[in-house]
């Protein structure tokens, strides 16, 4: 991805634990989403950005490939609003501290393995081993059963999406949880993807089903409040890039450590930008 000509470089942490975050305006078209979105959710975000006049939180994207790690809905919302730019936090995706996990699907109301599922699953196995391996599996009553899915990742995830929807129709409630085993109800674990796979698929324009990946980033800037007028600026890009750096660099920045709840629970360090 072509780097912007003006940006904010934030260095936080000490010694080897220093994290470098680049906060910048980037052309909307230079970023690549990797997951499908919920259109209604994107429309709600678009409406909110249009009414408030601000993109509250920047999206998180890989500086090298431009793949969006977090913020697919914001990207789509700004596309709907015909913005030219998006505020993004550019990171090195291959940094070890950026963790790529998965969202487990938990059906707490499930009381039995449905009969139609039998053809999809293998014999019972030790759940800890299967969990560690990162394969797709169903966990029910202390036993893990691997899912028989196509070898092609995209086809496997699309098949899984259908399975997830059918289970939701059967059991109603669905809760997205961390990658851990819960003994009540039934759990569906999608396959774990590698960072390389995510980048390759997104670069080809392939969109994975929603909640196929779960990214944990060491530091996350919040409440940066980038004006929509700037995101729609039609003049020289240098001016827009520099304007963002000028506006944000003078804000007061606070940090909150060890987990934090703002609009949702953040396990990572949070940088809150305040003031004008």
């Amino acid at each position: 991805m072509k780097p912007p000509t003006a940006y904010l470089e934030i260095n936080i942490g000490k010694g080897a634990r220093t994290s470098k975050i680049i906060l910048a305006l980037v052309e909307l078209s230079s970023l690549k989403p990797h997951e499908e979105i919920n259109l209604t959710a994107a429309k709600i975000i678009a409406k909110s950005i249009e009414t408030t006049g601000f993109q509250k939180n920047p999206v998180i994207a890989d500086a090298e490939s431009g793949v969006i790690l977090d913020g697919m809905h914001r990207w789509n919302a700004l596309k709907m609003l015909k913005a030219r730019y998006i505020a993004a936090c550019l990171v090195n995706y291959y940094d070890e501290r950026i963790k790529l996990g998965r969202w487990a699907r938990h059906y707490p109301r499930a009381s039995a393995l449905p009969a139609w599922l039998r053809g999809w699953i293998g014999p019972p196995e030790d759940p800890r081993k299967v969990l560690e391996k990162g394969d797709a599996f169903i966990y029910y009553k202390g036993a893990a059963r691997r899912l028989r899915l196509p070898k092609n990742r995209v086809r496997a995830l699309k098949r899984l999406k259908k399975l997830e929807a059918r289970l939701k129709r059967t059991y109603g409630q669905i809760v997205y949880t961390e990658d851990e085993l819960r003994d009540d109800g039934l759990m569906l674990f999608p396959p774990k993807l590698s960072k390389k796979e995510v980048v390759e698929l997104a670069s080809k324009g392939v969109l994975l089903p929603p909640k196929s990946t779960r990214h944990e980033i060491p530091w996350r800037p919040l409440h940066v409040n980038v004006p929509l007028n700037l995101l729609k600026y039609g003049g020289e890009p240098h001016v827009a890039y520099e304007a963002l750096a000028a506006l944000v660099s003078r804000k007061n920045v606070f940090e909150a450590l060890h987990g934090f709840t703002l609009d949702r629970e953040y396990r990572e360090g949070v940088l809150i930008f305040l003031g004008t």
Partner: protein, 395 residues
């Protein structure tokens, strides 16, 4: 127990944000005792209110409870939420981060002033000089600073008002005086002290936003304003808000507490309507639709009278005054016919009526030295101006 920076969070019942903003603003000013409220913001999507404050934990908790009780007293359910995972108040601290602005871009022209609402305005030295003069700087100082600022930011594409303010403080160095600096801060960044609540959203008083409000005010009055009139009106209100900000800024120096003044957009529109009423030519007549024809008839009569007087007048000075009167009234006539309302200046009238050539002729008349040439031009102005009346009447 030590004073610390804390973030406190509230959950409120989804409610009209406009009312919430007003109530919270009032409550903060009333109840902030023993704690220093740095900022607060409403997340209208999540129906949550956040406070950034400094103080002892029990004082902060008490403050939060009091605000919640105040809102409940006003009939709005509010509850103090856990801001952190473990405690009632999340402990925050100024980030120990190194923040660096990296600029590799080329210079594209004049630097732009980036307003917090994202509007970009060219940084004109005249505008800056005017602001410095308004902040009690002497003319010499203001001109000197303006030039220096242009030199310093010559390689930049965009700067923020805050950066500009800091640079001026740096330029002033030891010569800086507190009073001037306080006024300058209020003039450059009135949004630090005064904000506008518009249908539940906090808006910054910037030229572009005020221009949008001015358009609203004019349409309420049933007027079709020119661009120049809108700019003039927005400027007038911005100056009014700058004065308001200066008062707040002075108070802030003495007592560093949450200083915002939240004005509603309807108040601003009211101020604008008042200004329109006082400044717009024929406002009263135009407001009453039935009298527009009368206004036009009066104007026609005055134009014909002035034209008659022009042809019979003998001195050049008298002829000049009469020709200007004919031109002015004819342009006003034409702009009213085309449905525009102007600030009354020749430029504005010429633009609204689409008759720039008459303005050019007037300017040429002022420059020519020969009396004969001046007379020829004046005759032409009168003839052309009167011919404008032959145009169709009201659209």
């Amino acid at each position: 127990m030590t004073r610390q920076l804390l973030l406190s969070k509230f959950k409120v019942i989804p409610f009209d944000p406009a009312v919430l903003i007003k109530l919270i603003d009032r409550a903060v000013k009333k109840l902030a005792k023993n704690v220093l409220v740095y900022d607060w913001f409403l997340d209208e999507e999540a129906s949550e209110v956040y406070f950034i404050l400094e103080g002892l934990e029990p004082d902060a908790e008490l403050f939060a409870e009091k605000i919640a009780a105040y809102l409940r007293g006003e009939g709005i359910w509010a509850d103090v939420e856990k801001a952190g995972l473990l405690q009632k108040l999340a402990s925050i601290r100024p980030a120990k981060a190194e923040i660096k602005v990296v600029i590799k871009g080329e210079k594209t022209g004049k630097p732009f002033l980036a307003w917090p609402d994202g509007n970009l305005q060219p940084l004109e030295s005249e505008t800056l000089t005017k602001l410095l003069l308004q902040s009690n700087f002497s003319l010499d100082e203001a001109t000197q600073i303006s030039h220096k600022v242009q030199e310093i930011f010559a390689g930049r594409n965009a700067i923020s008002p805050k950066e500009l303010y800091e640079k001026i403080v740096e330029i002033m160095g030891e010569r800086s005086r507190l009073d001037e600096l306080v006024l300058l801060k209020a003039n450059l960044m009135p949004y630090l002290y005064v904000v506008i609540e518009d249908h539940g959203l906090i808006r910054y008083p910037t030229q572009n936003y005020l221009a949008a409000l001015a358009r609203q005010a004019a349409s309420i009055c049933g007027l079709k304003p020119t661009r120049r009139l809108i700019e003039e009106l927005a400027d007038h209100v911005l100056n009014y808000l700058r004065k308001e900000a200066a008062l707040k800024a002075r108070k802030f120096v003495l007592e560093p507490l949450y200083p915002d003044s939240v004005l509603s957009s309807s108040t601003i529109i009211f101020i604008m309507r008042k200004w329109l009423k006082e400044h717009v030519v024929f406002y009263e007549e135009l407001r009453k639709n039935c009298s527009i024809e009368d206004v036009l008839n009066n104007l026609r009569a005055r134009i014909h009278q002035a034209e008659h007087n022009y042809w019979t007048a003998s001195s050049l000075a008298e002829k000049k005054a009469l020709a200007f009167e004919v031109a002015y009234n004819s342009l006003t006539y034409l702009s009213i016919v085309s449905g525009h309302i102007t600030s009354g200046s020749f430029e504005d009238l010429a633009e609204a009526s689409g008759k720039i050539e008459i303005l050019n002729l007037l300017n040429r008349t002022l420059k020519v030295r020969s009396n004969e040439e001046a007379l020829r031009l004046l005759d032409k102005i009168v003839e052309e101006s009167v011919s404008l009346l032959k145009r169709p009447r009201l659209e």
